[in-house]
């Protein structure tokens, strides 16, 4: 019995040491270098869009790693890291720092460029709408174009509100002969909201995307392609549908554009979308309290073309500028109304840019 007792004590002693070996090393919460290396390596191992976005991640390491040293402040570390992440120009990359439960810094890659190039204001929009605007949530409102038989629905997000609000908006606008669906500055959300829109407006159940998840250390390691099929309306809407887009139409907003434009009665007017089509990772954490997310999928069309980093091209390109805003007009809305009333567009609807 004594031998057994000694053996057990010895084994327990071994296990305490064994725990550290088994669990491995962890980055230090105090080390700036560890923060940078952990984040860089995590992107290197798991971010899905390096190749699609033509990014040389190793060369970014060569540029930014020498700027990190242990004596730098947390603000300085933050500045270097966000500058590096901004090079990826992907709205699915975000990072925030949190202290005492509050977000103290927040950054989304590529958003600065979006803000610089997007001219959109609800203030100049309302002049085209009837006075009665139904707004159940700040991201969804609907009305009717003044004096025309055209319904207008603005959708600014694909999450964050009850999906029935979206259904009610769609039900209201489908009472009119034609529809303008405004997806400008739509920051995305979940696929369920895309399906909700398609289930009212789309007349096609074609495959819209092939989805692959990155599953290995190499930048082109991906799992099998899963096909996503569009949800077709039971009684498809037969009037003209104009979808308005701009560089602020992101992610699930872009999915909505694609799910609609495969129908032959849909015309997309505006500017190219953001080109951030993947879904994002779960929140990921660094030991100093920062958390971040990144894209984990490669999304392509059925024919293999990708819009990641490129965006979906509209059928008719028109952008608001500082001049149109100076005149207090929304030239995209004007074009949409004119198109419904007078024009017939027969252009090529898709312009593939990257073939995988």
């Amino acid at each position: 019995m004594r031998t057994i007792s000694i053996s057990i004590v010895f084994l327990l002693y071994l296990l305490v040491g064994c725990r550290d070996v088994f669990m491995g090393d962890e980055p230090s919460a105090e080390s700036r270098v560890d923060m940078f290396e952990t984040l860089w390596s995590d992107f290197d191992q798991h971010y899905a869009c390096f190749e699609l976005r033509g990014c040389n991640w190793d060369s970014l390491y060569e540029v930014y790693r020498p700027q990190i040293d242990e004596s730098m402040s947390e603000d300085e570390l933050w500045a270097v890291i966000v500058e590096m992440l901004n090079q990826l120009d992907d709205q699915h990359i975000s990072i925030q720092s949190i202290q005492n439960g509050y977000t103290t810094r927040y950054f989304v890659s590529g958003m600065e460029k979006v803000y610089q190039n997007v001219w959109f204001s609800e203030n100049y929009l309302y002049q085209y709408l009837e006075d009665e605007v139904v707004c159940e949530h700040r991201d969804v409102f609907h009305s009717k174009i003044k004096g025309k038989n055209i319904g207008y629905l603005y959708v600014g997000a694909m999450t964050g509100y009850d999906i029935d609000i979206l259904h009610r908006g769609l039900e209201a606008v489908t009472q009119y002969e034609n529809i303008i669906l405004d997806l400008r500055i739509n920051y995305g959300g979940t696929y369920a909201y895309v399906q909700a829109i398609a289930s009212w407006l789309s007349n096609s159940d074609d495959v819209i995307w092939g989805v692959q998840v990155r599953n290995g250390p190499n930048y082109n390691d991906f799992g099998e392609k899963e096909w996503v099929r569009n949800k077709k309306a039971k009684n498809p809407y037969t009037g003209k549908i104009i979808v308005l887009t701009n560089r602020g139409t992101v992610s699930a907003g872009e999915w909505a554009v694609e799910s609609l434009r495969i129908s032959d009665n849909v015309t997309v007017i505006g500017d190219t979308t953001a080109g951030s089509l993947s879904t994002v990772s779960m929140a990921r954490f660094l030991p100093n309290g920062w958390q971040y997310k990144y894209a984990v999928q490669r999304i392509t069309r059925a024919d293999g073309t990708s819009y990641e980093g490129v965006g979906l091209h509209p059928d008719i390109i028109i952008k608001n500028t500082s001049n149109t805003f100076a005149n207090k007009t929304d030239s995209v809305m004007v074009m949409a109304i004119e198109y419904i009333e007078h024009r017939n567009y027969n252009g090529n609807k898709t312009t593939p840019t990257v073939v995988l």
Partner: protein, 257 residues
Amino acid sequence: MRKLITLLMIVLLMPVANSQSLPNTVGVEGGVVFGAFRDDLYAPMIYKKTGWGVDLLYNPNFNPLKTFMQTRLNYSMGGIDYTPHEHFKSKFYSAELQFDYLTRIFPYLRFGEFFVGGRAQIAAQGIYLDILATSYTYLVNYSLMPSIRYSLGNQTHRFYTQFSTPLVSFVCRPPTNGYSANANETIPQAVANALFVGGLASIDKYFALYWHTNYTVQLSHRIAIGINYKLAMQRYSNVYTYKDFQNYISLNLSYEL
């Protein structure tokens, strides 16, 4: 997969149902859990784990001189904590159902008895970080594992130690975007996937080692008490690595029916 698991459980529990010829034993066990946890799916840090666990035991005395059988249902929960930051605190939950069946070898040894056999185990464990992010992690595994057990003692004092390690497991993990790998599922589908969409993993992908040591004192003809130490080490490597190192010290009370 669900049918396979149901069938597996029926086959495993059949001997229990047929073992009414000799008295059986039921028991309850409770104690403290502590250890460490790391899941690269959401963080590279090593979290401390502290909590408590409770077990229900059933030992059918099918043929106590030649075999050892036990069914164990465990539930444990507690907190995970990464000291440098307050907001990294969260909770963990785990549940296990395991069935051991071992048969005695070398029956005439002077210094104790050796048993070999196997364990079937269904285990699920997860955490949910619900304050600042909808981030969670889980590992569900269905394993068949060989076991070796060494026992010695007399009618009043008994001791055993047992090692088990899975050879083949079916392991489920969350998709890397947390909800739906292809962004095309409903929530019920995603929940079902949490339990049943996974892959077979051999020892190179899923390594685990379970060590259980028990010392029991027979208080009366029917009642016994004991103290247990259990170690569970798990490592699952796929796109992200999951590691769990858990100690469990517990007291048990058993009653012969």
